[in-house]
């Protein structure tokens, strides 16, 4: 990896940059508290289907999406709530979607694994592992052909490294110098299997073999993620080609909420270690406090504010109506 991180620290004392850090903190707390509500809704049997929580990985979505414009594109995954929120989705309509309500982003037809929102450039979350690599690359293809200078980010877990189509599109993206960033969220586990049992060789080499700029970053450090994402995004925007980022992170909960007894594939000690020593929100708030960017009271205020907003958003979703049954045959065709 040759690119330098942006010289963000140099002016870190300006109010604008402080506001940006505080905003990033808010976004990370929003994701954490959103997922707490999802867990609650699911365990109270109010939420149908499956819930794959993003808790523990917040710094990845926020660090990447803060490097994007609102009109840049993302594709997301089954573990996608964090990406949607970080790109600007509103929690009330997300909760409504999770409960299958008409007010949801997809009128209740997509659910937790398919939230899509054109207003924030969200091309949709995808429940096929690696299923969106073509879509993100195609969005970059269109951006280049139409001269819009938009960038597309393709989020996927390290499990998608097993999908051949990823390698097909990385080849295309580099051949055509497309503005797409492949963001591999390596949370160590392909569902219930450690990724080293499924992944031969080196992760970054998969991208550099195509000549794609690639880097690994501590995915628990939002400043590091943002710091590396920014030059990748700007480089792509300038037409200099795709990038590949491996963000090393950890999924606090099971593959989905029902994955409770998971000691057969990972230990409680390991989980506790990540939560105690590598929590992305604590890591960031410690830094904010140490740098004097925020008082503890401000951070507490933010948490309380967001908690209240999430409770209101859940209430909105619970009280929202289901779509009319007439809706079932709508939107099969445009």
């Amino acid at each position: 990896m040759t690119m330098a991180a942006p010289q963000f620290e140099a002016g870190a004392d300006t109010a604008v940059q402080r506001d940006k850090w505080i905003h990033m903190y808010r976004q990370m707390v929003s994701i954490r508290l959103f997922e707490e509500q999802v867990n609650e809704l699911y365990t109270r049997a109010l939420m149908p289907g499956l819930a794959h929580l993003y808790s523990g990985e917040e710094a990845v979505a926020v660090g990447i999406c803060e490097a994007l414009r609102i009109d840049d594109y993302i594709t997301s995954t089954h573990r996608g709530h964090g990406h949607c929120l970080a790109k600007g989705a509103s929690p009330d309509r997300m909760f409504a979607e999770l409960l299958g309500k008409e007010a949801g982003y997809c009128r209740g037809k997509g659910g937790s694994m398919h939230i899509a929102d054109p207003a924030t450039g969200n091309l949709g979350a995808n429940a096929i592992v690696g299923g969106s690599v073509g879509i993100a690359t195609g969005a970059a293809f269109a951006a280049k052909k139409l001269g819009t200078d938009r960038v597309a980010v393709c989020f996927f877990g390290e499990g998608a490294l097993g999908q051949g189509s990823l390698y097909e599109v990385m080849n295309l993206a580099q051949l055509w110098k497309l503005p797409v960033i492949y963001v591999c969220e390596n949370n160590l586990y392909n569902e219930y299997t450690h990724y080293t049992e499924t992944t031969a060789g080196d992760v970054l080499s998969r991208a550099t073999a195509f000549g794609i700029e690639a880097a690994s970053v501590n995915g628990q450090d939002v400043r590091a993620v943002y710091g590396i994402a920014s030059p990748f995004v700007e480089r792509a925007r300038r037409g200099e080609g795709p990038g590949f980022l491996q963000c090393n992170t950890y999924r606090y909960t099971g593959h989905h909420v029902g994955d409770i007894n998971r000691e057969y594939y990972r230990s409680k000690t390991e989980e506790q270690l990540w939560k105690a020593e590598r929590d992305p929100i604590n890591f960031f708030s410690d830094w904010l406090l140490a740098q004097g960017h925020a008082e503890a009271s401000l951070l507490k205020e933010i948490q309380e504010d967001i908690r209240a907003r999430m409770e209101a958003a859940v209430k909105f979703a619970i009280e929202s109506p289901y779509p009319s049954v007439d809706e079932v045959e709508k939107h099969v065709y445009a």
Binding site: N126, G134, L172
Partner: protein
């Protein structure tokens, strides 16, 4: 057909003219696929397009069907109108996730927010001595999936009009061309006409029996109708032109008129297009039928290479006319 239709074009030329006209009309239309540019595909269907529109719009790809089909889906969602070229219909297997789980479902899953105005052009048809992996007619697979439209042109005229409609459609449309038909000539107007999807065409009117035929089987049915006419049997040939949307009304009306129906399609019969069309006719015209609806399609075998073996796997004018004769009790 309009007056200007005196000009004759081959099926391949008609396809090319449709693409060229749409690319001139709409700068968002582009072609993506293997050897689509200078090579103009192995069938030379696209010859000359890269010269007019440039390699920015006629885009050669690596041999990565899943990858570039996915690119087509994403590009269609974000402002282009790609025509994705899959050289042989047998290769749609490689694109299935992109077509079935992505393209077909995105509009619905997103509650109508995203659209995928994309065309996939590919081929079908046996008897080209291409063996089991370059000869199949797999359009039934896509016809099975809500969210996709499937077009099966059988004449140069239909190919041009239907392809222009497919490109203007807001949905993913799969357009199957019979590779044995590329040299077939027929009248094609040089004006900007379109043919709506979901409207069947009575290719030949008749009274005694209906031959419902798709794509490659339309010419077979017309040939069989000629043979039958010599024996005093009047066969009506009805071409649905699209398997979805499907013009059920025209099929049922013809069945009611003639009371005997053979359904012909080059795909596999079992669980295939013929099964669906026969069911539609049986449900809609049961009390007007004098005989069970008969299905004729590819034999349930991988397409063999050896010519005498391959030739018996698909219906011919002779086998169709024989079946019709028996159904009309004149065998």
């Amino acid at each position: 057909m309009p007056e200007s239709a005196t000009r004759e074009l081959s099926f391949a030329q008609a396809v090319r003219e449709a693409l060229a006209e749409e690319m001139r009309r709409d700068s968002r239309v582009c072609i993506i696929g293997e050897d689509v540019a200078e090579a103009g595909t192995p069938f030379k269907v696209l010859s000359g397009l890269v010269e007019e529109f440039g390699s920015e719009r006629v885009v050669d790809t690596p041999i990565s069907e899943a990858g570039f089909t996915g690119v087509g889906v994403g590009a269609a969602m974000t402002g282009l109108r790609p025509v994705v070229d899959i050289m042989f219909g047998d290769f749609i297997t490689l694109t299935m996730d992109q077509m079935v789980n992505q393209a077909a479902k995105i509009h619905y899953m997103s509650g109508g927010h995203w659209k995928v105005p994309m065309v996939m052009r590919t081929t079908l048809g046996a008897t080209r001595r291409s063996a089991a992996q370059h000869s199949q007619s797999l359009h039934a697979w896509f016809s099975h999936v809500p969210g996709l439209k499937v077009v099966l042109p059988s004449t140069p005229y239909d190919a041009k009009g239907l392809l222009k409609t497919a490109i203007r459609d807001e949905n993913p449309v799969v357009f199957f061309e019979d590779k044995m038909m590329y040299k077939l000539k027929g009248p094609v107007p040089d004006d900007d006409y379109t043919i709506p999807l979901g409207v069947a065409d009575v290719k030949r009117p008749g009274d005694d029996i209906t031959l419902v035929a798709t794509s490659s089987m339309v010419q077979i049915a017309l040939g069989a109708a000629d043979l039958l006419a010599n024996e005093g049997i009047s066969a009506e040939v009805v071409d649905p032109r699209t398997t979805w949307p499907l013009d059920e009304k025209t099929l049922i009306a013809s069945a009611k008129k003639t009371s005997r129906v053979i359904v012909l399609d080059e795909g596999y019969g079992r669980y295939g297009v013929t099964a669906e069309l026969a069911a539609v006719i049986a449900e809609g015209a049961f009390y007007d039928l004098d005989a069970p609806v008969k299905r004729m399609g590819a034999m349930h075998v991988p397409i063999p290479f050896s010519p005498p073996l391959e030739d018996v796997t698909v219906p011919t004018e002779q086998t169709v006319s024989e079946a019709a004769r028996q159904m009309c009790n004149k065998g």
